[in-house]
Symmetry: D2
Subunit: 296 residues, 4 copies
């Protein structure tokens, strides 16, 4: 039994944290909106007053927060995770952030004499609840070894990709072909429809071809706008592709297809679809083109 | 037993034509290079001297040729399929051509009192040999009905997508997300490598994520340059994407990601990789970037 | 006094041909629509019945036609320029065509024992009427020397850029930054307007900066849609950029900004603006974005 | 005679500040590296110890700093311009920053009871020394009126474009067609060279056509790499285009040509050309393509 701190009880964190109680660990949680901690407290967790409180009373602290600013603030801010005495503590950040943010956190953690593992994940809420995430771990080998048993509680698989910042990079790398694929599919549907083909038949034909993304059949209802569930929204994809472009620009790597995709996610977001599933750009682009043609 | 003519004994045609002998039909074949007909003649087929000869002695003629110019020439040229008396004959063209080419052939066939079905296929040599192609049929309902039993000899599935030209369009539509996906994957690999990640680990991680194309695992050896087999080469993809852009330009459909992909296929072709598998652009772009960096 | 043939009396040809009469040459003209020859006949020109008639009765033949198909047909078709006896005749083609078309014409001309100079021009109707064109000549040095005095009647300047096909290429090369500049300006205006800036002020500010195209002030009324005169229309620009992409694709040269521009010209053409001045894409893109925003 | 503070003595500031002494004002200067103030002190200026010192002893403070972080720090940091008592002071920031940065500074200035004018400029060191800049002023009408006489000392022209943030936006808007033009020119040169045309002749032909940027003739030596003077470098253009994309992404404005240009500036920067003039991408892209071809 270890004293585990868990910081960030958003959609993902809320279903991940309980797994530590189930695994028999003592759990201290913290969330900006304290109300979200209540179900966990009911199951035996303690709710910390500040991130500092959570960190000082835990041996291992796991964080999963919504954006770079939150991560920087929760780690380095007043009463932040690193504001007290945390010598020897292990911090595992599972947030999806930019590589340079993760590098900053890693440096701050090490400066306090603590261990740091970066572990963004591939997988959404369903796999998170089932302990079936895929973690892209980065950090020193010793810290990774120390983090392994805790990540095993959350993940079906973990890989070690490199030093701090490289887990965040791998997460962007994985999202790139996904974000571009929906753009390509949008172009395919728009081209087909402009030439008189039917949207459903186009999608169904692609699904039964070598051009099919493995999850395409599963996502077709969302593409057609028939279901409302959102795995990963347009705004998040837009934010991620901007991060890819910034990173690529810094490294001298041209990303023309990702740039093309950014245009559509940005336009869809400006068009009020920011909270819808990223696949919605397929519908957005084709519908817009059809509407433009009907206006002439 | 029907008198079937089969025109075009390239990689695909060579394994498709024998299926008609196996199904008990009388087979007349024609190919520009007559030597390719020899294995079929050995099995009981007759080798026609000209396309006209093949057409005049068949009730159903199936063609699968390499490019638009060949199709136009074989159908409309001197001693072409339509040069003799073909009233009532059924022509099924399975070549991958541009929509406007298929429309021209359809008109020429109908002007001779014959039936026309356009049926480009999804699937490569393996499925072709096994009768497991997926045909995208276009044409009049009556002609389609008449063509069905012959396409069933070659296909695991057929769908009717619309009028002449729309089968060719659907073929382009299906190839678009495929051609763009390899570009996106190339960008992902280049971005990751520039940031210090390993190529194999990047590919393996994407394969185990929602960003995976269904065939990604299967294509990984070709991406890495470990195998030489070519399902669909860089030059063919380049030609197809140019056709998408021309068609999209005519219909007013912007195809920015496809345009981005064209750049890479063109550069790879100019770099001497035209005959390699289309997935080779992943390797081409990443290797080029690495080489450029090492030069500085 | 030379026997000059002039073929093609479109917007450009109609104001160019009379200059040969003024220079004291004997002039035979031909145009598909014969009525366009009437003003010239009234001034002393003879109207040929066919291109062959014009060629066989001239020492020097100048052609300026609307597209590649017309050039190929007028030169190589039945009763075409090359159908009769033209040994020793000089042909100067001033049409804007694709490099490979010009190469084909050059070969056909030489096969008849005649000389060929390719001379597409920079400059529109106004300079054409004033003999102030800028010709991009390509061909053998001897043919160029022979063509010089005739081109001097039409041009303020001529340069020799290379062999047949390279004049056409230089024409595409010159149009590339022009076609892309209007796209860039469209993006600038759209970005500024989305952030609350005024369109006229944006254009005026750019005109007074190092980002100004030399002709920007002159074109501003057309950009704003205040005048109807058309120097070079959207459809022509779309056609030219497609030709750039085809040529670039064949040579392995990536043209991402030109590709981006093609999207807009294609969309504008599909939106009914094909006959408007190419600068209209600035208005088209910004207006469309404003309309989309107002719809949300 | 007014007490003028001038903060930031970089390339631009160093030639702008003396104009206030010449105009008869009392001048206090501050620069992070104090040595740069020496020539001004020799002419009668006082060197402040901190930005706060400069602000508290001036009625009007003009700042021109290198990047967003410096502006934020000099205004809002410890001993910053706003750290002391500045009620009623007029601040004019002439730095080129992102719109959101300027908005933040404006808010901070107003919260201290002071006036703020944002006035980024079009024009480089030469015009700056001659008082020939073009200022894009943004802010409240009253503050603008108050700033006018001081900006007139530096500028040949000033315009009022809107509220705080909109001057920064106009600066990005103006730079967009400039940044894209060099990309387009690079594509044109690469296309022409791949087809056998000469680089100098291509540039010279474009300069004598309607595709010429007004400054093209002037910049040709820099494009050809024959001179080393740098007006605006690759890294600055890269930074500006990233800011355009971020702003455009937030406003839902697609910027495909700007995205295409970013790829080249990023690649050139990664290739070691970050400090060279932005026009160097023309040479960079063409040389790279030539090198690649020679490798095959």
């Amino acid at each position: 039994m270890t004293a585990v701190g868990f910081v960030g009880l958003g959609k993902m964190g809320a279903v991940m944290a309980p797994r530590f109680l189930e695994a028999g660990h003592a759990l201290t949680v913290w969330n900006r909106t304290a109300a979200k901690a209540e179900p966990l407290v009911a199951c035996g967790a303690r709710c910390a007053e500040t991130p500092a409180d959570a960190a000082e009373n835990s041996d291992v602290v796991i964080s999963i927060l919504g954006d770079d600013a939150s991560v920087l603030d929760v780690y380095r801010g007043d009463n932040g995770l690193l504001s007290g005495s945390v010598d020897g503590t292990l911090f595992i950040d599972m947030s999806t952030v930019q590589p340079h943010t993760s590098v900053k956190i890693a440096e701050a953690v090490k400066a306090k004499g603590a261990d740091f593992v970066e572990a963004p994940v591939s997988g959404t809420v369903g796999p998170a609840a089932d302990g079936k995430l895929f973690a892209l771990m980065a950090g020193d080998a010793a810290a990774i070894a120390r983090a392994q048993p805790y990540l095993d509680i959350l993940c079906r698989r973990t890989i070690h990709v490199g030093a701090a910042g490289q887990g965040a990079l791998m997460k962007l790398v994985v999202n790139l072909p996904l974000g571009v694929y929906w753009q390509a599919l949008a172009e395919a549907v728009a081209l087909g429809e402009a030439g008189g083909l039917e949207r459903k038949q186009i999608l169904e034909t692609i699904t039964d071809s070598s051009a099919a993304l493995a999850v395409l059949g599963l996502k077709t209802p969302a593409i057609l706008g028939e279901v409302g569930a959102v795995a990963f929204d347009v705004d998040s994809m837009q934010k991620d592709i901007l991060a890819m472009l910034e990173t690529g620009s810094g490294l001298g790597v041209p990303l023309p297809a990702a740039s093309a995709a950014l245009m559509s996610y940005s336009a869809a977001s400006a068009g009020g679809m920011g909270q819808e599933d990223a696949v919605s750009i397929v519908r957005f682009l084709s519908d817009r083109l059809t509407r433009q043609k009907s206006e002439n």
